[in-house]
Symmetry: C2
DNA sequence: CTGAAAGCGCTTACAG
DNA sequence: CTGAAAGCGCTTACAG
C-alpha cells in the first residue's frame, strides 16, 4: 500500500477552500462571481488564499450545470472543418463571430455539419446557442437534432422560422453581370458552386437538376446573372454553365482546365464565377496558358477576398463583408441584436480582370 | 394568472423520461451510453419514446460534471482569433487538430491567448486538455493560469516540462539559405518575423534587442540563415535585417516597400523571408514596381502555403506539414501518441522565385 | 438484466 | 454582510 504522502493531490474544490478558510461556500462563490455580495476585505482574503492553494476559480462544468449556461456558442459549419478553416469567406465569418463572443466573455466551439451529431453525441447540448452556416439540404436535417430551446441563427441559408443573416445575392449578381455585359461578350459562360442536386463537377447538362431549395445562395446568384442576361438580349438558356462541387483550387482546377482548353472559337470570353476562389483558379490557369486577361478572357468573381485584390490583375468581384455577417450573427445569438431576418448589402469592386 | 396550459414546456430530463416509461434512470442512461447493459428490446423502447417526447439524449453539462470529462479540447492561440483564422499556417494546424478530434468524438474550443483568461474566466476549465500554439513570452504566462492537472501540448514553442511538437527550424533554414547562396548575392538581406523584444516593424538597428528566449522558432530560423551565411563567406553581422510584427499583407507591405524602394545600388538582390506571407507580399510589391523575379530579386519564403505554389513564379520555400503537426498534437492530447518532444521534418521546395 | 441511491462542484434564493 | 441547504441532470458502483 502507498502511504498518504504520495496520494495524488486531488484537485481542490470550492468546498475545500471554504472549509480551509472557515467561511461558507456561498462566500467563495460570491468572491469570484459577485464582488458586491461580500466585504472587500473578505474577498481579498479568499482570492489570495485561493491563489496560494492553487484554486483557479469555480469549475466551469459545475457552474454550467448549475446556471444552465456555459458561455459557449457553437458554430455549425456545413462543410468539414478542414474545408471551412481554409476557406477565406468562412474564416472571415468566424473572425467576426469570435470578435463579438470574445468581447462578451463567450467562447467558440466548432462543429462540423458533416458529423457532429453522430460523432460527438450530445456534446452540442453544452452550447448556449448555435450559429449555423450555409447548411444545404442534406445537412439541413441537423437542425432537427440540435437541442431544442437553444437559440439558433442561420447564416447564408433560410430555414423556416429562424432568424437569419444574409447578403443581397440576387441584386449583387445582377449588378456585376450588368457591369460585365456593358461590353457584350461573344461567348459568355457561368461557373456555379454547388448548384445541382446530384454532385456535378463539370459542365451542367440537361440531366442535372438544380437544387430544389429556392432560397440557396447559389440559386439567388444565378437568378441575378440570368436577369442581367435577359435584359441584355442574351437568352440565359443558351449560356453554358459549369458547376463546381467544392470551393478549393484542387476541385476547381480540372473544371476550369476543361473550359480553358476548349478550341479558341468555343472558349468563353467572359466567365461569371460564383466565387473568387473559382475566378482566381481560372486566372492562374489562364495565365499558364498564355491567355491575356482581360483581352482574351474577362473574369468576375464573388466574395471580395483579399487574395483577389492583392495581385495583378485585380479581380472584378462583389465584396461581401463576411466579418460583419459574423458579428451580426453573434450579436443576435447573444441577444444583443434583434433576432430577425437581416440582409447586408454588398459592393461592386471593379478590377482589371473585367474592367 | 396564466393557466397551466400555457406554461413554458420545460425541457424534458432523463428523470422525466424514466418516470414516463416506468423504468429507472440508470436504464435511460445506459440506453444512450452503454447499450450492452440492457436488453435490446428495452433499449429500443427507450430510444423511440425519447424521440417521441423530444428528449435528445443526456445533457452534456450534467454529464461532464458527473464524469469529469467534457470531450472538449481547447486550442490556445497566441494571436487573436481574427489573425489566426486568416493565417494559412494556423488554419492548417487547426485542420489537423480538428480532423483527429472529430474522429474520436471530441470537439474544438477556440481560445485566444490574448484575452481568454480575463474575458472568459473559468470557461477554460471546461476543456479536457489544451493545445497551445506559438505562445511568446508575454502570453506564456497564460500557462500558469490554465487549470492544473489538465494535459497540455505545446506547438512551436518550448515551455519547461511539457510535451511539444516542433519542426526542424534551424536545419530547414540552413538548407534553404544554402540553396539560395549557391548563386552568391551582391546584397543579401533577411526579413524576420517577431524577432525583437520591443516591437519593430522595419529595419532592425542596434537599438533593438532580439527576444531573449533561445528556443523561439524565429531565433532558430535566423540561426540557420546565419550558419549558411558564415559558411559561404558572408559575415552575418553585415547582412541587413528587417523585422515584421504580424504575418499579414497589411503589416508586411510598408516594410517591404521600404526595402524595395531603396536605390538600385542598395536594394537587396536576395531576400530570405521567414514566412511565405512575407515573401508573397514582396513578390506582389516587386511586380508592381516592375522588378523581375528572379533576375532583379531572388526571394525565399518559409511554410509552403498553397497560395505560394499556385501562382507564377512559384515560391522557393520550406514546406512544413502543419496539418500533420496538428494531428500529432491532437493525438498526444488524447493520449493516442506518447507525450514527448517531437520534431517533424520539412522539405525544401524550389520554385521560380529563387531557382 | 434492472433499480435505488449517492454525489460530481457549484449557485442562489432565503433566513439570519 | 454571511451561512445552511437545496438542487442543476446526470453516471456508476452496487445490491438484487
Amino acid at each position: 500500500m502507498e502511504t498518504n504522502v504520495t496520494l495524488p493531490p486531488r484537485r481542490i474544490t470550492l468546498k475545500d477552500l471554504a472549509a480551509e478558510l472557515g467561511v461558507s461556500t456561498a462566500s467563495i462563490s460570491n468572491a469570484f462571481n459577485r464582488p458586491d455580495q461580500l466585504s472587500p476585505k473578505l474577498r481579498e482574503r479568499i482570492l489570495s488564499e485561493a491563489r496560494r492553494l492553487g484554486y483557479s476559480g469555480p469549475d466551469a462544468k459545475a457552474r454550467s450545470l448549475r446556471t444552465g449556461r456555459s458561455r459557449i456558442i457553437a458554430v455549425v459549419l456545413a462543410e468539414s472543418l478542414t474545408y471551412s478553416l481554409n476557406d477565406a469567406v468562412a474564416s472571415e465569418l468566424l473572425t467576426g463571430i469570435a470578435e463579438v463572443l470574445d468581447v462578451h466573455g463567450h467562447t467558440l466551439l466548432l462543429l462540423s455539419g458533416r458529423q457532429h451529431i453522430s460523432q460527438a453525441p450530445g456534446s452540442s447540448s453544452m452550447a448556449d446557442g448555435f450559429i449555423a452556416y450555409g447548411l444545404m439540404p442534406p445537412s439541413l436535417m441537423l437542425l432537427a437534432d440540435l437541442p431544442a430551446q437553444h437559440p439558433l441563427v442561420a447564416v447564408d441559408f433560410t430555414p423556416e422560422g429562424y432568424p437569419t443573416v444574409h447578403i443581397d445575392n440576387e441584386p449583387a449578381s445582377y449588378a456585376i453581370a450588368c457591369h460585365a455585359l456593358k461590353t457584350l461578350p461573344q461567348r459568355p459562360a457561368v461557373v456555379t458552386l454547388r448548384l445541382t442536386k446530384e454532385p456535378c463537377n463539370g459542365r451542367i447538362t440537361d440531366e442535372y437538376e438544380p437544387l430544389p431549395a429556392e432560397r440557396t445562395i447559389t440559386r439567388s446568384r444565378l437568378a441575378g446573372f440570368q436577369r442581367a442576361f435577359s435584359e441584355h438580349g442574351i437568352d440565359p438558356a443558351q449560356v453554358p454553365m459549369w458547376n463546381i462541387e467544392e470551393n478549393t483550387y484542387e476541385v476547381c482546377a480540372p473544371v476550369l482546365e476543361e473550359i480553358l482548353d476548349l478550341p479558341d472559337d468555343q472558349r468563353p470570353d467572359l466567365l461569371l464565377c460564383m466565387s473568387d476562389r473559382i475566378a482566381l483558379t481560372a486566372l492562374t490557369l489562364a495565365e499558364q496558358r498564355g491567355l491575356r486577361i482581360p483581352e482574351d478572357l474577362r473574369l468576375t468573381g464573388f466574395d471580395g477576398i483579399a487574395e483577389g485584390q492583392y495581385r495583378a490583375p485585380r479581380l472584378t468581384t462583389v465584396r461581401q463583408d463576411s466579418v460583419e455577417k459574423g458579428r451580426l450573427a453573434a450579436r443576435m445569438i447573444l441577444g444583443l441584436a434583434p433576432r430577425e431576418a437581416k440582409v447586408l448589402t454588398t459592393e461592386l469592386l471593379i478590377g482589371e480582370s473585367c474592367p
